[in-house]
Structures are given as structure tokens and as C-alpha cells.
């Protein structure tokens, strides 16, 4: 086996194997469990570093396994995969640290961390999937691995939320399956390739292709929380904070958005999609979801719910970027995959800290919380400002390129008002939180966590949001540096448009 | 095939059909066991009639062998059914709430 075959498999195994071992551990072996988790996460990070270097050198990473005649299971790494793989790997490491602190002394941790690792394995596999079939496999696997995480607390409310989540995502998975099988019977193996494959196949009926596009988008739209398929997301908020963080920033929601990018660019091809006329409806829907999510977020007093609706809105930037023809919009959309991830995970870490340390779940309880927990609140502030789109935080870069792309595209001018409206709405639901946190008089907290020393909370809870907030500042401020997400996405855009 | 073996075969088929219907319709277990046996006899009759190869010729031995085996199987099956029914009758009569049975 060559390195090109081995590396993708090793990247999968670096979370799969620790996950499987963790299932077999007893509850008491928590040192071993944490150790395994950390070893896996660090190993994965190192392997991904090798991968980045290799892909930059235009080395080919591909592992292929025939499941049935004509049906191959393919792991293939291209620039877009690398982007998503590195995002999930990095954030998995941070979230693992966070989760170890968060779940200290709670029951069923072996089950939790086992499925947590499986969830990352599925996400990384999805990122490296080399054809639509493999993508569907990991897409479903992700659904299954996240269900026990959402239901983890075992309260009737959690089980109900998880059931709704599973109902939505399985139904979406089936739609995706129909689309994939149908397209497979028309167009062959559907290996992802930069610039798309369908445009080069003669004799395809455009009407069929439009129907299939609808099916695929409906299937992916469930996880990407496109309106009206977003209903599960606010309800899945019952999950523990690290799960919400991972779900919103990396795993589930991103899997849907990533799938949309894959289908538009690497299956249909963005120019061919524009030719079929399927991009405009997708863009309209994404734009509507952006505004709708923000409007709903305004009225939520529950902090995690407000963040959830904010996710509904923010993730649709990615679909919006994919639906505007032109490299600049592509850059804006794809880079938001990373930027939104880093910012949103910070927000959820902070929300988790508030809930764990002070029992604060609602925006109306957050008065003066900045003085009690300055580090966490500072991280929250940076991420929130980034979400609004303030430079130099990462979110600004995404919105800037989306705007430029809209101006560049022939019929994209309508996107500008959407971007403006969305930013104003973002400000309207984030700034009041910041005002309360920093400027309102401090009040009594619902409960106080016993920490045992002077500090705002446990170190393993305090540091992850600080780190990710710093990261959000760095990727925004140093966007022009080599190997920054922006630079990398420009490379992707060049390859997608065959420039 | 001459007319008399055909007659036997048709009779056999009729007995088979009657037995089958009775075995599905009747409620009493013993009656159903008997009905299944009758139905089996119908099939055996059909098989025996198929063994006829002509007035002068010896009959085909294979169907006979089959019928013999079939009779053994039928006896064994009836025995098991009766044994089960006996055990059922010996059990204390519980209030049979039919749980989810269609």
C-alpha cells in the first residue's frame, strides 16, 4: 500500500479506533479514556498536516475498495476535502478538551466519547468521500453516530429532540439516496472532480437533472438547515454543550453545507448548474433562510436557541456563495465553511460555560456576566462581532467576498441588500447580549459551580473558547498569509473554475 | 392415462381440497388434525393413481415409495400435534387475553 492510499485510511482510523476502544472501557477508567481521546485527536492533527502538505504538492491521495460490481467505496482527497478535514480535526481536538471538562463526573461517558469519536470519523470520511455513493454512506453514518449524542442526557425532552432530529435527517438521507441512485443510473459512477462531471456527459435529459438536483438539495438541505427543513435544529439544542458545538460548527450542519458545495461544484459543475438554471432558486432559498433565521433569532430568550437560529442563518451563506456564479462568491461561500465553524464553536463553548458555571441559560439572566467571567465573555464578544461581520474577525472576510462576488456576477446584485439586512439583524440579536454582559449591573446567578480555587471556571472549559476566539481573529487578520483558509480557498476556486 | 386412474386422481384431488378447507375452517384442534390427515390421504390417492402404467404393466414403484414415506411423515406430524394438544389441555386454564395476536 502506498502512502497515497494509506494516509486517508489512517486519518479515518485515528478517531475510529480510539472510539471503538473507548466503548469497551468501563466508566471508571477516565484517565485512559481521556488519554486515548487526546492521542487520537493529536495523531489526526499530525496526519492532516501531512495531508495538507501533500495536497499542496499536488500529490494524489486515494483509497478505493470495491463493494459491489460498479459500486466503489472511494476516499479521495482534494483541496476542498483538506479544508473540511482540517477544520473538523482542529475543532475536534479543542472540543475534546472541552468535553472532558464539561462531562466530568457525569454518567455514561464511555458511550458519549465513543460516539463522539465515531461522529468525527463520519465527518472526516464525508470530507474525503471521492464519489457520491461514499458521500451518502458517511452522510447516513453521521446521522446514526450523532443520535446517541443528542439523546445523551436521557431525559424525555432529550429523547424527543433526538427523535425529531433522527426523523428529519433520515428522511433527508433517503431523498439524497434517491437522487444519488437516480443520477448514478443516468451518469455512471459520479466520482467528484473539480469543475464537475455532468457537463461533459452527452445525452442527459436536463429535466431529469433538475429533478435530481432538487432531490439532492432537499436531502442535503435537511442537515444544512435550509428553510423549511430546519425544524430539527432548535430542538436538538437539548444535547450537551460540546455536542451542540460540534453539531453546529463542524459535524452535522456543515456536512449538509459541504454536500451542497460538492454537488454544485464537483458533480454538476457550477457553470453547468447555472446553465440548467438551478442556481437561482437555490440562491433565493438560501437568501430567504439567512433573513428568516436572523429574524427568528431576535425573539429567542434562550441563549442556545438564539445561537441555533443564528446557525440556520449563517450556514446558508455557504449555500448562497455556491449559488452565485463566479470565483469571488465561491471564495466567500467556501471560506465561510471554516470561518463560521470557528466562530460558532466559540459561541457554544461560551454558552456552555455560562450554563455549567452559573446555571445561566437565558439572555435575560446574563446581566453583568462579563465581570464574573471575563475570559469567556471576551471570547463570546469576539465571535459575536465576527458573526456580525466586523473586521478583522473572520466573518468579515466571508461577507466581503460574498459581496464582491455578487457585484461581479451579472444577476447577483439582489444579494447585496440581503447581506446588509442580515448583518443588521445579526447586530440586532448579538449586540443586546454584549450590552447586557458588559454594561448591566451584576446580579445573582441561578447557581454557582464549586471550583475550589480562584478562577472563573474550570481551565478545560475556559481555554477552548479563548483559543477558538483567537483563531477567529487570526484567520481574519492574517487572511492574506500563506496556508490561511482564505489562501487555500482561493486555490480551490482556481481549480473549480479551471482558471 | 385411462379413465379409471383419472377418476381416482380427481377423487384424490377432491379429498385433498375438502380436507384442506376443513383444516383451515374448523376451530377444534382435533378436527383440524383429522382434516389435515384426510387431505394427506387425498394426495396419496393422487400419487397412487399416477403409478398406473397400463393394464398389463406393473405399476411404477416410485409413487408407492413416496406414499409410504408420506404416510410415515403424516403419522409423525399427527403424533406431535396430538402431543402438543394434550399438553395444552393439561395446562391450567388461564384467562386467555390475546396479546397482540392478529
Amino acid at each position: 500500500m502506498s502512502m497515497g492510499e494509506l494516509l486517508p485510511l489512517m486519518i479515518l482510523c485515528s478517531s475510529l479506533i480510539p472510539g471503538l476502544i473507548i466503548f469497551a472501557l468501563s466508566e471508571e477508567q477516565h484517565r485512559l479514556r481521556s488519554g486515548l481521546n487526546m492521542v487520537g485527536a493529536v495523531a489526526k492533527l499530525l496526519l492532516v498536516a501531512g495531508l495538507i502538505w501533500g495536497v499542496y504538492q499536488e500529490q494524489v491521495f486515494e483509497a478505493r475498495w470495491t463493494l459491489a460490481p460498479g459500486l466503489d467505496f472511494v476516499l479521495h482527497v482534494d483541496a476542498l476535502s483538506v479544508l473540511f478535514v482540517s477544520l473538523s480535526t482542529l475543532l475536534w481536538l479543542v472540543t475534546t478538551v472541552y468535553a472532558i471538562g464539561y462531562l466530568e463526573d457525569s454518567p455514561d461517558r464511555s458511550r458519549f466519547f465513543g460516539f463522539f469519536s465515531l461522529c468525527v470519523t463520519a465527518t472526516v470520511g464525508l470530507a474525503m468521500a471521492g464519489n457520491l455513493f461514499t458521500f451518502v454512506v458517511f452522510y447516513e453514518a453521521l446521522t446514526l453516530a450523532t443520535y446517541p449524542l443528542v439523546a445523551h442526557k436521557g431525559t424525555p425532552e432529550a429523547v424527543r429532540g433526538a427523535r425529531i432530529y433522527l426523523g428529519y435527517t433520515l428522511a433527508g438521507g433517503l431523498l439524497l439516496l434517491i437522487g444519488a441512485v437516480w443520477l448514478r443510473t443516468l451518469a455512471g459512477p459520479l466520482e467528484f472532480s473539480e469543475g464537475g462531471i455532468l457537463g461533459d456527459i452527452p445525452g442527459l435529459d436536463p429535466d431529469n437533472l433538475r429533478w435530481i438536483f432538487l432531490l439532492l438539495m432537499a436531502g442535503l438541505g435537511v442537515k444544512a438547515a435550509l428553510f423549511p427543513l430546519h425544524g430539527w435544529l432548535p430542538r436538538a439544542m437539548v444535547a450537551p454543550a460540546p455536542v451542540s458545538a460540534l453539531l453546529h460548527a463542524v459535524a452535522v450542519v456543515k456536512a449538509g453545507a459541504f454536500g451542497i458545495v460538492r454537488v454544485v461544484y464537483d458533480v454538476y459543475g457550477v457553470e453547468f448548474s447555472a446553465h440548467l438554471g438551478v442556481l437561482v432558486p437555490l440562491g433565493m432559498l438560501a437568501a430567504f433562510t439567512i433573513v428568516y433565521g436572523s429574524v427568528r433569532a431576535l425573539s429567542q430568550d434562550h441563549l442556545k436557541k438564539r445561537l441555533a437560529y443564528s446557525t440556520v442563518s449563517q450556514v446558508s451563506y455557504i449555500a448562497l456563495g455556491a449559488s452565485i456564479l463566479g470565483p469571488l462568491a465561491t471564495i466567500g461561500g467556501v471560506v465561510h465553511l471554516v470561518h463560521q465553524g470557528i466562530m460558532k464553536i466559540t459561541l457554544f463553548f461560551a454558552a456552555g460555560n455560562y450554563a455549567e458555571t452559573l446555571g445561566v441559560h437565558r439572555v435575560s439572566e446574563m446581566d453583568g456576566i462579563g465581570r464574573r467571567m471575563p475570559a469567556t465573555t471576551l471570547a463570546f464578544t469576539v465571535a459575536a462581532l465576527g458573526m456580525i461581520g466586523l473586521p478583522p474577525v473572520a466573518g468579515f472576510i466571508s461577507k466581503w467576498y460574498l459581496g464582491l462576488g455578487a457585484l461581479e456576477a451579472s444577476q447577483g446584485i439582489w444579494v447585496i441588500p440581503v447581506l446588509v439586512a442580515s448583518s443588521l439583524l445579526n447586530a440586532a440579536y448579538f449586540l443586546p447580549i454584549l450590552y447586557r454582559a458588559w454594561f448591566m449591573p451584576q446580579r445573582d446567578w441561578p447557581r454557582q459551580m464549586h471550583i475550589g480555587y480562584r478562577g472563573e471556571t474550570l481551565p478545560s472549559l475556559q481555554w477552548p473558547p479563548v483559543i477558538t476566539a483567537t483563531l477567529a481573529l487570526l484567520v481574519g487578520g492574517l487572511a492574506a498569509a500563506p496556508f490561511s483558509p482564505l489562501e487555500w480557498v482561493e486555490l480551490i476556486a482556481l481549480r473549480e473554475y479551471r482558471l | 392415462m385411462g379413465s379409471s386412474p383419472l377418476l381416482y386422481a380427481v377423487t384424490g384431488a377432491l379429498i385433498f381440497g375438502i380436507g384442506l378447507l376443513a383444516s383451515l375452517r374448523d376451530e377444534a384442534l382435533l378436527a383440524r388434525i383429522i382434516a389435515i390427515n384426510i387431505s394427506g390421504v387425498g394426495v396419496f390417492l393422487m400419487l397412487v393413481s399416477f403409478a398406473y402404467r397400463g393394464f398389463e404393466l406393473a405399476p411404477d414403484p416410485i409413487p408407492h415409495a413416496l406414499v409410504l414415506t408420506g404416510i410415515v411423515v403424516a403419522v409423525a406430524a399427527s403424533g406431535l400435534a396430538l402431543a402438543l394438544e394434550k399438553r395444552l389441555a393439561e395446562l391450567p386454564k388461564s384467562k386467555t387475553h390475546k396479546e397482540d395476536s392478529p
Binding site: L67, P69, L71, P148, G154, L170, V181, W182 | L66, L84
Partner: protein, 485 residues
Amino acid sequence: MSTILIVVVIVPLLASLTCLMLPRLSDRLSLGTGLVQLITGGLLIQSLASGISHFHELGGWSPGLGIALRADALAGALVLLCAIVSLAATVYARRYFTCVETRYRFWPLWWLLSTAIYALLLSADLFNLYVTLELLGLSAAALCTIGAAKTEALRSALRYLMLGLVGSLLFLAGVSMVYAEYGTLSLMALAGQIAQTPATLVALLLLSSGLLVKCALVPLHFWLPAAHGSAPAPVSAVLSALVVKVAFYLLLRLWFELFSPVMTSLFATLIGGLGAIAVIWGSLRALTAARLKLLAAYSTLSQMGYLFVFIPVLAALPDEETRQLGFGALVLFALSHGIAKAALFLGIGVIQLQVGHDRIDQLAGSAQRFPIAFFAIGLAGVALVGLPPSGAFLAKWSLISNSLLTGQWWWMVVTLTGTLLAAAYFIRVLGAGFVTLGPEAPVKGVGVSLQAPALVLACLATFGLGLGAASLWDVLAMGSAGGQL
């Protein structure tokens, strides 16, 4: 090499007799027999992989007089399935039946059932098939009553026996019609001769309806849920995984090898339609079932339905090659269901044994108390619903793809609806099991040896069959069943 066929049939028969005579040895002997069967099954499929099919006449008697055995790739695959499932169930049964007396009565019947299954898979003669069918029905019904103290269990066993007898009689009547028309009962001799005559049609109808009773295809299904739902767990596992499956195997043989000149597309569509009803109806009943085992039994109804949905799709495929691939998918589906359903029943049995019941609304805490068994149930669910990476997923992918290829999109709709419903009833189980009991509830563990067989089978169905499916196609592509399809 063809002597291996004798070994496959004779070993469980000897085991059965020995267990009857030397009950003290039976626990250890059974474990050994299970292992031997697994090895023999592996050797058999190994020797068939080169595309040969085996044929053996017992005692040198010519076909038509003596007993002939034969195996092709299809039979080999099913023999291996049976060996795997029965080994797992054997290991399990050693712990499941805690009472020694019960085990002593259980083992002889258990191996008799195995004998019947293997003999049925390998018989090359219609009358032998009838005898093995009867043997199967009798030993299965007797096994249902092991350890049964309730009237309901006995009554459903009795009903199972009666319907089995009716099915066998229908089959026998069909056999006699075939003999009347063609003067032979050897499958190989018949294969080329079948022509479209009225008597042949009657024979086909009789044989098919007899077997359809045993396969529990709607509307002949009514006996199955009660019988499978009230038998002891290892028996339920084998009934659902293997016994209905071998009856279906026989149907495949008849429809695609013997009676292919008589099979019309109308007949295939009719069968597929009944299968579709079974898929939907079985799933709906599973969704509302109050007990886990009943849920699993209804799930068997609906999963058997898929096998029949394959028939019209396969029949409509235009060229030989795609049809062989589709046939492979059908076999993969059957294997996948067999292993996963056995895992499900064994997993349920653990919970039932410990908690004393299997009511779904009182499952709270089982995910904590029986982590391995519950994980196995979940994994079996993945394979039964047909989610990746299970073998059933590949099979369903092929089914959907082929129904689109042949323009019969309605089979796709049935498949997907059934899949969603199956997901719904498994979500119900998982949801019930994941509810925690609260800190005061006692958390006591269960032995690994009782839980492990279910987990191994579930992993095999979900990962093994999915990732290793390519080799199955290699074997089947050379098999005669696919070839003559």
C-alpha cells in the same frame, strides 16, 4: 470433494442423536458441532468459489431412486449463513436456558432443525425437499414449545405446526402433479423439460402456495408473528433468520431454475405486489407492536416482503449481466436480514431474560444496564433498516437502481417507504431504551457471554457484509442459479 455435502448434513444429525442419548455431554457436544458446521460451511463455500457445483448420490443410488445432494454457490452461501447463525445461537442458548433439564430437551431438537435446514438446502430432488420441509416444520414447532408454560405460547406453536403441515401438503400435491406430468422429480432432470402445460401451471401454483405459507407472504402470514414472538429467543432467532429464508430459497430455485419458462411478468408483478403489501403492512404493525419480540416478528414479515419485491424487478431486467448483479443483491439482502434478525432476537432475549418482560414502553434504562446487548440491537437495526454500511444498504441501492432502470419506479417508492417505517420503529425502541432511570435505579451488569453472540452477529451484518460484499458477488456470479436466471 462432493463428500463434504454428506458431512454438512450428517454431522448435525449425529449430534442430534448423540444429544438425545448422552444428555450430559450435550452442552459441550453442541458447541463442538456448531464449530464443525462453521468450518465445513467455510470449506464448502471455498470449494465452490472456483465456480464448480458439487453433486453427490448417497450410496450410489441413481437419481430418482436414491437421495441426491448438490450444492452451488447459492446453496453454499446459505449453508454458511446457517452455520454462522446457528453457532451464535448455540453459544447463546447454553447461557439462555439456565435450567439443565430444558437444555437436555432442547439440544436434540435444535440439531434436528439444523439437519432439516442443511438437507433442504442441499437436496436435489423434489420429494426429498418435501421430506425436509416436513422435518423442518415439525422440529421448529417442537422447539417453539421448549420451556413454554403459557397457553399462548403453546397455542401459537400448535398453529405454527398446523399451518406448516398445510403448506407441506400443498407442496406435496404440487410434487405429485410434477411427477404425473414429467415422470421424474430430480431437479436437474426437470430443469430442461418444463413446458407451458395446464398441469405444470397447477403444479407451480400448488408448490408456490405451499412455500408461500412457509415464507409468510401476505395474505398467508397470520401465523408468523405469534409463533416467532412467543418462542424462546434462540429459537425465534433461527426461525426468523433461517427457517423462513430456506423456504424462500426453495421458491427461488423453483421460479428461476425449474419454472422459468412458465413464469410470466404478470405472475412476477403479482408476487411483487404481495411483497409490497407485506413490506408496508408488516412495518406498520411493527410500529404499533407493544412487545419487542413482536416488533421483531413483524419486521420479519416486512423484510421477507422485500425479497419478493426483488422478483418483478429482476424479471424485467434486460440483460444477463445486470440480472446476475441484481440476483446477487437479492441474496445479499437475504443474508443480511438473516444475520441481523438473529442478532436482534438474541439481543432482545438478553433484556427479556434479565428484566422479565420485553414491553417497549418499559424499556427505560436498558441502554445503561445492557450496553452491549442494546448496542447490538441498535446495530442490527442499522442493518435491518438498510442504512450504510450494512449489506442491506447495498442491496437496497441495487434494488432502487434496478427499479429505476426498468422504469418500475413504484418498487422504489415501496422500498423507501418501508425503509422510513423501519427507521421509525427502531427509533421507537432506541428512544425507549435511552431514557435513563435516574440515579437511584440499580445498575447491575449482565455476563458478556450472553451478550457477545448478538454483538458479533450485528457487527457482521452491519460491517462485515457491507464491506466484504464484493467477494459474495464473485462467488454468486459463478453460481448456477444466477447463471440460469
